[in-house]
C-alpha cells in the first residue's frame, strides 16, 4: 500500500538513482531547493536570525526595566528618534519592542524555526521517505515564511514604528490609527506579514500531515513511529485547524481598519471625536485570537516534547517509558488545547458561568501534561545516561516544563487568576513553560541532529558550557518574575515608578536584567559552535549517538533522496535500547526480529514468520513492474 503511493509519487527506487546523480545548479540546490533537508536548514538559519533579533530586543527593554534612569544615548545610532531628548527610550517604542519580541519569538522562532526545521528535516528521514509529499509546496512554505519575515522586518523602519499593541494585538487599540503610532503602518504590515505567515504555516502543515500518512516506509506503522513524528504530526493538525481562525480574525481587523466595518468596534470616542462604529464587539476578537492563540502554545510546545522524548530515550539507553501513554497524552493535549482558550479571558467580563467551564477544562489538560513528566522521570530511572549537549538541554526542558506547568494550575483557576492576570506572574509562567522549554527543545534538536544535517559534530564541551550558562541563567531571569508578579506588578509597563505599590524590587529587576544580558551573551557560544562546526567540526560517524531511528541508516551526508539504494524496511518500534539478551545496547528499527533471536520476546518471535511473508511480497511487486 505505502509502496504503491511512493511509486505513483515518482519515487520509484530505480528512477531515483538516476535522479540522485543529476547535477543541480546553485540556485536549485541552495535557494529554491525542493529538498526537505535544505528547506529545513533554511528554516533553521532564518529562525536563528530572528532569535537573535528577538533576544536583542529583550535585552534592550530589560535595560529599561532594570535601569529606568539609564541613558540609552548610545542606542541613538540604531534607534534614532526613538531615544528621547533626555536619552530615555520612548514609551511607545518600548511597547513596540515587546510586541515585536513576542511576535518574533512565538511565530518566527518557535513556530517556523522549530516546526519548520525539525518537521522538515526529520519526517522523511525518520519515516523512511525520499522527501516530502510535495517538494514544491514545501519550498513555497519556506519562501512565504521568508516573505513574511521581510515584511515584518520592513515594519521596523517605518517612521511610526512597528506594531505596538502587544503580540495579541487586541482591538480597538490595534484597529485605531489614532490610538498609538504603532497602530498605523506598523499594524498594517504586521497583519500582512501574519497573513503570509499563515499561508506558509498551512502549506507546511498540510505537507507534514500528508507525508506522515502516506509515505511511511514498509513496516512503519503508526505504533512504530518515533515520538518525534507523532508530535510533529499532531502539531501540524493543530496548526491546520487553528491558524485559519487567526486568519479570519486578522481579515476582519483589516476590514475594520481600512473599510469602515465595525466587527470589533463600538461606542468609541477618541482623539476628540466620536467614531461612527457601533454594534461591534472587542471581545469577539479575543475569542477568535485565543482560539488560535492557545493551540499555538502547543504548536510551540509539542515539537519540543517530541524531540526530547527521542533524545532522552536515546541517551538514557532505555526505552521511553509508556510509549503508548506518551502518544495518548499528546493526543489528549491536542484535543483539549482547542477547548481551553477562554482561560485567557477570565476577567474580560465574560459570563462567569463560562469562566467556570473553561476553568474545569483547563485543569483537565494538566493531567496529560503531568503524565508526560512522570514518564520522562520513569525513563531516567535506572538508565545509563550519557550527558550529550542534546541530553542536557532535554533535561532542562523537562525542568522548565515542570516549573512552568505548575504555575499554570494557579492561572487556570479563575479565582486566583483575578489577581495574577496580566502581571509578571504570567510573564514568568509562559516564558518557562512555552518560551524556555521550547527553546531548549530546539537547541536539543540542533545539537542532536547537527551531525545528520552537516555531517560534522558540534563541540561537546562548548555545548556543556552553553547549557549550564543558559539553564541557570533562564531560571535567574524568570524565577524572580514570579515574586514580582505576586506583588502585583503589571506587564507591558514601561516603568513602575508612577505607583507607590509597584515602586519596589528595584534590586531584583536589576538582577534579572543582568541575568538576561548574560544569557543573551552566552548564546554567542552556541552561534560560534554552530558555524565553526559546520565547516571545521569533527567529521561525524554514521550513528554518533547509537540511535535506533531510520535517519542514522542514511549516508553521513545524505543526498537528495536520502537513501542511495532502497529504503530500509522497518520491523520494530524505535525504542529497543538495552534489550535483555542483545549484544549491543541498541537495535535499530530496520533490524528484523529474525536477526535478533537472542533478545526477542515470545510475541516478537511470532512476527518472524510475518517478516518473511512481507519480504516475499515486496519482491513480487518489484517483479511485476
Amino acid at each position: 500500500m505505502d509502496q504503491h503511493i511512493a511509486e505513483t509519487a515518482g519515487y520509484h527506487d530505480e528512477q531515483w538513482h538516476s535522479h540522485g546523480h543529476q547535477k543541480e545548479s546553485f540556485v536549485t540546490k541552495y535557494i529554491f531547493s525542493q529538498d526537505h533537508k535544505t528547506i529545513a536548514k533554511q528554516f533553521l538559519i532564518t529562525g536563528m536570525f530572528w532569535a537573535v533579533v528577538g533576544g536583542a530586543l529583550s535585552s534592550v527593554f530589560r535595560l529599561q526595566l532594570g535601569y529606568p534612569d539609564m541613558s540609552l544615548e548610545w542606542l541613538r545610532p540604531i534607534l534614532g528618534g526613538w531615544i528621547t531628548e533626555t536619552g530615555q527610550l520612548d514609551p511607545e517604542f518600548y511597547l513596540a519592542m515587546i510586541t515585536m519580541h513576542g511576535t518574533i519569538m512565538v511565530f518566527f522562532v518557535l513556530t517556523a524555526g522549530l516546526s519548520g526545521t525539525f518537521s522538515n528535516f526529520l519526517i522523511p528521514l525518520q519515516i523512511g521517505a525520499r522527501d516530502m509529499a510535495s517538494g514544491f509546496l514545501n519550498m513555497l512554505s519556506y519562501w512565504f515564511f521568508f516573505a513574511s519575515s521581510v515584511v515584518m522586518l520592513i515594519s521596523f523602519f517605518l517612521e511610526t514604528g512597528p506594531a505596538s499593541g502587544g503580540w495579541v494585538i487586541y482591538p480597538p487599540l490595534s484597529a485605531l490609527p489614532q490610538a498609538m503610532q504603532g497602530s498605523q503602518g506598523g499594524m498594517t504590515l504586521w497583519l500582512v506579514s501574519m497573513a503570509i505567515f499563515i499561508v506558509s504555516s498551512l502549506l507546511g502543515s498540510i505537507n507534514y500531515i500528508t507525508t506522515i500518512i502516506n509515505l511511511r516506509t514498509k513496516g512503519m506503522t503508526f505504533t512504530r513511529l518515533p515520538l518525534t513524528i507523532w508530535a510533529f504530526f499532531l502539531t501540524a493538525v493543530i496548526g491546520v485547524l487553528s491558524f485559519p481562525v487567526l486568519f479570519s480574525a486578522a481579515l476582519l481587523l483589516i476590514f475594520d481598519r481600512s473599510f469602515g466595518t465595525s466587527f470589533y468596534l463600538s461606542d468609541i470616542y477618541i482623539a476628540g471625536e466620536a467614531l461612527s462604529h457601533q454594534g461591534g464587539s472587542a471581545i469577539l476578537f479575543q475569542h477568535l485570537f485565543w482560539f488560535l492563540g492557545h493551540p499555538e502554545v502547543y504548536i510551540v510546545m509539542l515539537p519540543g516534547l517530541g524531540i526530547t522524548s527521542e533524545i532522552i530515550a536515546t541517551n538514557s539507553r532505555k526505552p521511553i517509558f509508556g510509549y503508548r501513554a506518551m502518544i495518548g497524552s499528546l493526543l489528549a493535549i491536542s484535543v483539549l488545547s482547542f477547548i481551553v482558550w477562554a482561560h485567557h479571558m477570565f476577567v474580560t467580563g465574560m459570563n462567569p458561568f463560562l469562566g467556570s467551564i473553561f476553568m474545569i477544562l483547563t485543569l483537565i489538560i494538566a493531567v496529560p501534561s503531568a503524565v508526560k513528566v512522570f514518564n520522562y522521570l520513569a525513563t531516567l530511572w535506572r538508565a545509563n545516561i550519557r550527558f550529550t549537549p542534546g541530553m542536557l538541554f532535554s533535561i532542562g526542558l523537562v525542568s522548565f516544563f515542570i516549573s512552568g506547568g505548575l504555575t499554570g494550575i494557579y492561572l487556570g483557576n479563575s479565582a486566583i487568576d483575578i489577581q495574577l492576570h496580566d502581571t509578571y506572574f504570567i510573564v514568568a509562567h509562559f516564558h518557562l513553560v512555552m518560551g524556555a522549554a521550547s527553546f531548549f527543545g530546539m537547541l536539543a534538536g540542533v545539537y542532536h541532529w547537527f551531525p545528520k544535517m552537516f555531517g560534522r559534530m558540534m563541540d561537546a564541551k562548548l555545548g556543556y558550557i552553553h547549557f549550564w550558562l543558559t539553564f541557570v541563567g533562564v531560571y535567574l531571569i524568570f524565577f524572580p518574575m514570579h515574586y514580582i508578579g505576586i506583588a502585583g506588578f503589571p506587564r507591558r509597563y514601561y516603568s513602575w515608578t508612577n505607583f507607590d505599590v509597584f515602586n519596589s524590587f528595584t534590586d531584583l529587576n536589576i538582577f534579572v536584567t543582568i541575568a538576561a544580558i548574560a544569557v543573551m551573551a552566552s548564546q554567542f557560544i552556541f552561534l560560534f559552535n554552530f558555524f565553526y562546526s559546520m565547516f571545521k567540526g569533527r567529521v561525524a560517524p554514521a550513528n554518533p549517538w547509537k540511535s535506533n531511528t531510520l535517519e542514522w541508516t542514511t549516508p553521513i551526508r545524505p543526498e537528495h533522496g536520502n537513501w542511495p539504494g532502497t529504503i530500509p524496511n522497518v520491523y520494530r518500534w524505535p525504542y529497543d535500547y538495552s534489550k535483555p539478551g542483545a549484544e549491543d545496547d541498541f537495535i535499530p528499527q530496520n533490524v528484523p526480529f529474525s536477526q535478533t533471536l537472542e533478545s526477542n520476546f515470545p510475541h516478537e518471535n511470532d512476527l518472524i514468520g510475518l517478516e518473511k511473508e512481507e519480504e516475499g511480497i515486496v519482491i513480487d511487486e518489484n517483479e511485476t513492474h
Partner: protein, 346 residues
C-alpha cells in the same frame, strides 16, 4: 582612541580563546577522550545536576521565606482573603510537586549517569503505575477545581442590592469615576455626547444625571459592598486594585462590573504598613498605548460615617458646569436646578 584600544583588546581575547579552543579539541582527538562515554565530562555534568538542584532549592526556600514581606501584598477585601488562601493552598500542593519532581529529575540524572559496567533496565511500561499517576493528579485537580469554583461563583455572584455604586471609566490615559448622587441612580450616557468637559457623555435629558458627581478620587465605605460599573471610551483598559484583589477589563461598548467588600480603611492600612503616606491605588493592566503605565488613581476607603460626609459634600457635575443646563429639556429645568443644587448656591 580609547575605543580602538578596547576594540583591539576584545579582538585579541577572542583570538586567544579561539586558539585555546582549537588546541583543546585537537588534544581531545589525539587522546581519544572524545570517544569515551564514561568521561570526566559526563561525571562533571552528572555532579552539576545534583549541585544545581541543591543550590536552586536553597535559593528558592531562602528567598521565598526571607522576602515574604516584600512580595506579599496586604489584602483589604473580603473575597481577597479567600483568593489569597486558595493561592497559598495551591502553592503548598504545587510546591510539593515542584520539589519532588525536580528531586527525582536531578537525582536520577546524577545517580544513573553512564557506567561502562552498567546496563540500563529495559522497562517500557507499567500500567498500574501509569494509571496511578494519571488518577492521583486528576483527584487533586478535581479538589482544587471544586474549591476554585466555589470561590469564583461567590465572587461573581450578583451584587447585593444595597451595594454602593461607582462608575469607573477608563480612557487614554486616566481613570474617571462618577457617583449616582443623592438619588442613588446613575444617569444615562451616550458616547456621542462626550466632549472635553463632559468626559462621561452624561445625558442631561435623563433626570438621574442631574445630581451625579465626578470627583477626582474614588472613595468607598469600609465594610459595605461596592459595585464598580466599568467601561472604557476609546480602547481596552483594565481596572486593577491590587490590594483588593480586584481586576476587570474596561471595554468600549460593553459595560462590565465587579463588586467587592473593602475591609480595611486607608487609615488602618497606614497603621498596618507603618507607612503614613500609604494610599490605595488603581492601575491599568490592559495595554492601552503610550501612557498605559501611568493610569493611576487614588482610592480611599473611609469609615462609613466619613464616607457619608464626603459623599454629601460633593458637588454635582451640573452645578460645577452650569452651562450644561442648556442640554436639559425645558420641562426638566426646574428639577435639574433643584437636584444639582444650583438653586441653593444662588
Amino acid at each position: 582612541m580609547f575605543e580602538v584600544a578596547i576594540g583591539l583588546g576584545v579582538i585579541l581575547v577572542l583570538v586567544i580563546l579561539l586558539l585555546l579552543f582549537r588546541v583543546q579539541s585537537l588534544l581531545n582527538v589525539a587522546r581519544g577522550s572524545d570517544k569515551k562515554i564514561e568521561s570526566t565530562s559526563n561525571r562533571v555534568n552528572g555532579a552539576l545536576m545534583l549541585l544545581f538542584f541543591i543550590a536552586a532549592m536553597i535559593a528558592f526556600f531562602w528567598y521565598s521565606i526571607s522576602a515574604y514581606d516584600d512580595y506579599s501584598l496586604p489584602v483589604a477585601s473580603d473575597h481577597g482573603i479567600l483568593t489569597d488562601k486558595m493561592f497559598w493552598i495551591t502553592t503548598i500542593i504545587t510546591g510539593i510537586v515542584f520539589v519532588l519532581a525536580h528531586a527525582l529529575l536531578f537525582y536520577f540524572s546524577f545517580r544513573y549517569q553512564y557506567k561502562e559496567s552498567n546496563k540500563a533496565l529495559f522497562y517500557p511500561d507499567n500500567h498500574k503505575l501509569e494509571i496511578a499517576w494519571t488518577i492521583i493528579p486528576a483527584i487533586v485537580l478535581t479538589l482544587l477545581v471544586g474549591y476554585g469554583l466555589k470561590v469564583w461563583t461567590q465572587i461573581t455572584a450578583d451584587p447585593p442590592s444595597e451595594a454602593e455604586v461607582v462608575e469607573v471609566m477608563g480612557y487614554q490615559f486616566a481613570w474617571r469615576v462618577r457617583y449616582p448622587g443623592k438619588d442613588g441612580e446613575l444617569g444615562d450616557y451616550d458616547y456621542q455626547l462626550i466632549d472635553a468637559v463632559n468626559e462621561f457623555g452624561m445625558d442631561f435629558t435623563d433626570k438621574d444625571s442631574f445630581d451625579d458627581f465626578v470627583p477626582s478620587e474614588i472613595h468607598v465605605p469600609k465594610g459595605q459592598p461596592v459595585l464598580l460599573k466599568i467601561r472604557a471610551r476609546d480602547v481596552l483598559h483594565s481596572v486593577f486594585l491590587p490590594h483588593f484583589r480586584v481586576k476587570m477589563d474596561a471595554v468600549p461598548g460593553m459595560p462590565t462590573r465587579f463588586w467587592f467588600v473593602p475591609n480595611k480603611s486607608t487609615e488602618e492600612m497606614r497603621q498596618e504598613t507603618g507607612n503614613p503616606d500609604f494610599n490605595y491605588e488603581m492601575a491599568c493592566t490592559e495595554i492601552c498605548g503610550r501612557g498605559h503605565f501611568s493610569m493611576r488613581l487614588i482610592l480611599v476607603v473611609d469609615e462609613p460615617e466619613d464616607y457619608k460626609k464626603w459623599y454629601d459634600s460633593q458637588e454635582p457635575f451640573l452645578s460645577q458646569n452650569p452651562s450644561y443646563l442648556s442640554k436639559v429639556p425645558e420641562k426638566l429645568l426646574d428639577l435639574a436646578s433643584i437636584a444639582s443644587g444650583i438653586d441653593n448656591k444662588n
